[in-house]
Amino acid sequence: MISFSNVNKWYGDYHALVDINAEVKQGEVVVVCGPSGSGKSTLIRTVNRLEEIQSGQLQFNGQDVHSPMGHRELNQLRSQIGFVFQSFNLFPHMSVLENITFSPMRVRGVSRDAAQAKAMALLERVGLAGKAQAFPAQLSGGQQQRVAIARALAMEPPAMLFDEPTSALDPEMVGEVLAVMRSLAHEGMTMMCVTHEMGFAREVADRVWFMDAGSILEMADPKDFFSHPQHPRAQRFLTDLRAH
């Protein structure tokens, strides 16, 4: 579904992604973890080309994401990739319902009625049916992130990307967002999640990728990764995590 081959990215002299070779298979849940600054977010943002790469190839659903293409083609491609941001990025001037119906109507040309019916079903699913008319600023962080997930799902993407979806949340709201992600995973959604929630990784992930300094140092089953990590850097990372 998503495959990286020899992907490299530089910010000037800084080598942000180093020879990434990896694949997220259909229906698979991959958790990307690693210390901050290791390139996790950069990696996930290359998938829908919020970040450009300088060499290598990145395929999404059979399409070469970073090949030269027209604006229209790129927008079309992006509309098929669900992306959830750390800071939610709901549109504050639109109601919850408008946030969710916006892209199906504008990008796909779905009728208002159809878009709203779909949005209400999605809000039901993330447990916020009563908030359709609310504005983002009236919602808690956890609620906003659940709306953001619903907004991404409204485009019926074949895969969802999560870029630290719970890092901006107060601890008591992390659970409600993870619950939504867990249910998505159980329904067979292909997911790539950058997260520090190791409990979620252990329970839900099919694969864990451990990154440091722009490289993927280890790809493993969560069970193996957490019980006996191979790479010394991964061992140190897990020890540091347990220390607090």
Binding site: L50, R78, N89, P92, Q138, G141, A168, M173
Partner: protein
């Protein structure tokens, strides 16, 4: 004090509308029409200039920047004189002082409004554009439906202040015989000859009242926008755990 009242009661119509209907519309009416026209025509232009200023194409960025820097660095009076003498040479026929003034104000205010609009756009979190693009929207679509509505709304108070400045700037029309409020007051002064202090005091009071009331409106608007941004506008549906706002929202 009696003199003041006498002058106002003798000349209020002249100060309000000039010699209209026996001559061109002037006085306060002309001042307000000039300001409204200036800002209203400058506004769409300013959005385009702002978009050009942040464009990734140098071909758009440079002329827009040049215009903005020129407007910031050259006194308005000079631009008025330029337009007054240059435009007739270019188009081959004379234009009225009123048209000159409108053209000048549009150019000048568009440059200043453009900087306000640009600031509004750049003050929004980068994630707004990214989220719109990630959903598959084109850059113009994201600008039109996501960025500009927020940026312009947030910048309403600044734009209104710019309108207040514009009202004061119309006084410069006096030098090219535009029959606006200052011109009307000087006509009154020329008739009376002995009461310049009184006449120009009245003039100052009129400007002050207009500008001060607009400033009040601006401040009220600003407070309203602040509360709305914090989600207080619709307190009845506000969630109980909302206070954190999570830092990311403007």
């Amino acid at each position: 004090m009696n003199d003041l009242i006498q002058i106002v009661s003798d000349n209020w119509l002249l100060l309000l509308v000039g010699q209209y209907p026996n001559g061109p519309l002037g006085g306060l009416a002309c001042t307000l029409i000039l300001s409204v026209l200036g800002i209203a025509l400058a506004f769409p232009l300013s959005v385009l200039i702002a978009l050009a200023r942040i464009s990734r194409f140098a071909l758009l960025r440079w002329p827009a920047a040049a215009l903005v820097y020129a407007a910031r660095g050259i006194p308005l009076l000079l631009i008025i004189l330029w337009v007054y003498f240059l435009v007739p040479m270019l188009i081959g026929s004379n234009i009225s002082g009123f048209t000159t003034m409108v053209v000048t104000l549009v150019i000048y205010e568009a440059a200043f409004l453009a900087e306000i609009v640009r600031a509004g756009i750049e003050a929004l979190p980068k994630g707004q554009m990214e989220a719109a693009r990630a959903l598959g929207l084109s850059y113009p679509g994201a600008m039109l439906y996501v960025i500009l509505p927020q940026a312009l709304y947030n910048m309403l108070p600044s734009m209104l202040s710019q309108f207040v400045s514009t009202i004061k700037e119309t006084t410069l029309g006096y030098v090219i015989n535009v029959h606006e409020l200052t011109f009307a007051a000087s006509q009154v002064n020329n008739q009376l000859l002995t009461k310049p202090f009184h006449v120009y005091f009245i003039l100052a009071v009129i400007y002050f009242i207009v500008c001060w009331s607009l400033t009040e409106v601006t401040e009220r608007l600003e407070r309203r926008i602040t509360t709305r941004r914090q989600g207080g506008g619709r307190a009845q549906v506000r969630s109980a755990q909302a206070p954190s706002l999570s830092g990311a929202r403007p």
